[in-house]
Symmetry: C2
């Protein structure tokens, strides 16, 4: 069991930030990443479609005999996690619960902001997870659909990025949040402009590290001994559109960790 890979699934390239955190936390664990680049983004789609795509991704990763499934995509974690857990023989870790836990640990005022895609915000998944941990927390949410295309355009520090951040985040700042969950894997790429807009007193929560902690804890709980240090761990990446644009982003985020990239189809499974 313990030489089987961890499977990481995302709608596209953003989940590589989670993948990178997992690689850093668990350098000897083999890992398989699937990015559904031919159908990204998920955050603008209906729950039923996100669920269907997520189940297809799960089927694909199960064929790689994964021992644990990480759902790096916030939109998929928000609307499809229950279905994925129900269909899975292995543990499933989403990004919502670890991000919520980190936010509750960090807030002092109890007023927590959550930003994400339309699908994530409409689901209310972060509110439920935060209030399950701290019932008196107040959660202020805002969908920020333009942040993903801004990050993909590389406009992270220009007039458009600043005006967009002010339009989306002005009300959250006025509402007095002291902790802001970046509830989409792309948003850490805009960390500086988001931080500057919110002000120095606001902590930004990036789920990637929280997820890596959770996965490390889960594996430590298992009876299986850790892998021998220095074993050459597999880092296989699968995507559903052509590799070229993804590879540029993958090299930027992962460096030489990406040992293999292959294009696959999910709708045939």
């Amino acid at each position: 069991m313990n030489d089987r890979p961890i499977g990481v699934f995302d709608s596209g390239v953003g989940g590589l930030t989670v993948f990178r955190a997992l690689c850093a936390a668990l350098p000897d664990e083999p890992m398989v990443y699937l990015g559904d680049t031919a159908r990204v983004p998920y955050g603008t789609r209906s729950p039923s479609t996100v669920e269907r795509y997520s189940m297809e991704a799960q089927d694909f990763l199960n064929q790689h005999r994964i021992k644990l499934l990480v759902v790096a995509c916030n939109s998929a974690s928000s609307v499809a996690l229950d279905s994925l857990v129900r269909e899975s023989d292995v543990p499933v870790v989403g990004v919502i619960a670890p991000g919520a836990r980190r936010a509750v640990e960090q807030t002092r005022s109890g007023v927590i902001g959550v930003i994400g895609t339309r699908a994530t915000v409409a689901s209310g998944a972060y509110e439920r997870a935060i209030q399950a941990l701290r019932s008196d927390a107040r959660v202020e949410s805002r969908a920020c659909p333009l942040f993903v295309p801004l990050a993909e355009e590389g406009w992270t520090d220009n007039d458009v990025a600043r005006a967009t951040a002010e339009t989306y985040l002005g009300e959250l700042r006025e509402a007095g949040v002291d902790t802001l969950v970046m509830g989409c894997t792309h948003y850490p790429l805009l960390r500086e402009v988001i931080g500057a807009t919110m002000g120095a007193g606001v902590e930004l929560v990036d789920s990637a590290e929280a997820v890596a902690d959770e996965v490390r804890g889960l594996l430590a709980d298992e009876a299986a001994p850790p892998l021998p240090a220095g074993a050459s761990a597999r880092r296989d990446l699968f995507i559903t559109d052509e590799p070229a644009p993804f590879m540029r982003m993958a090299e930027r985020i992962l460096g030489p960790e990406a040992t293999r990239i292959e294009q696959v189809r999910l709708d045939e499974y």
Copy 2:
């Protein structure tokens, strides 16, 4: 033959601007629209994936026994038209050639700007079509990936829209274009900010009307008599994600023309 519908295919909701122009030009013709809302946008995907999705859409519309296929999506017209024509028993009309013709008719200076998605601009399809009609025309192209999410966010007249338009279009304006092809079905929704940024001396070309003229000409060339005026023409809309968000946009663009909306799957065909 002449009571068979015209098929219109787009990656999502933007092609309804073309559908509307066709309905206005040919009020008595039955029409079937397919929007691949579960996989939109096409403009950020690779040519091979856009081609595969386009062929699936064609297969679907052929099952509705269409007499003519209109490819309303600029990205699909740019990279998949040859394949669609090769596989089709009926005429296929894309948006590139009619838009290029309109631009060549309107330009005085011979310097024509083209804006579109990454896929459309990378294909060079507009340049080829324009220079085939006027070999001394100079074409200045620019991909504007943020215009689609801006239009879908409804941010058509705020600071972000103006700063984005200035960033994308400033160089085209300085290059002296006197005619600008809006080479994406979403862009007419940003017509005002695009026009204000380019200046009063620049003509904006919206392919929708050019396509409607082309289709009317094609049907008039056929031997079949026109349909009796006032026949209640079918207006059937099919989409691949849930109808609710699409219906709001469809009603905004089409009014009561939308007589039926149904969700379908393309990857089963």
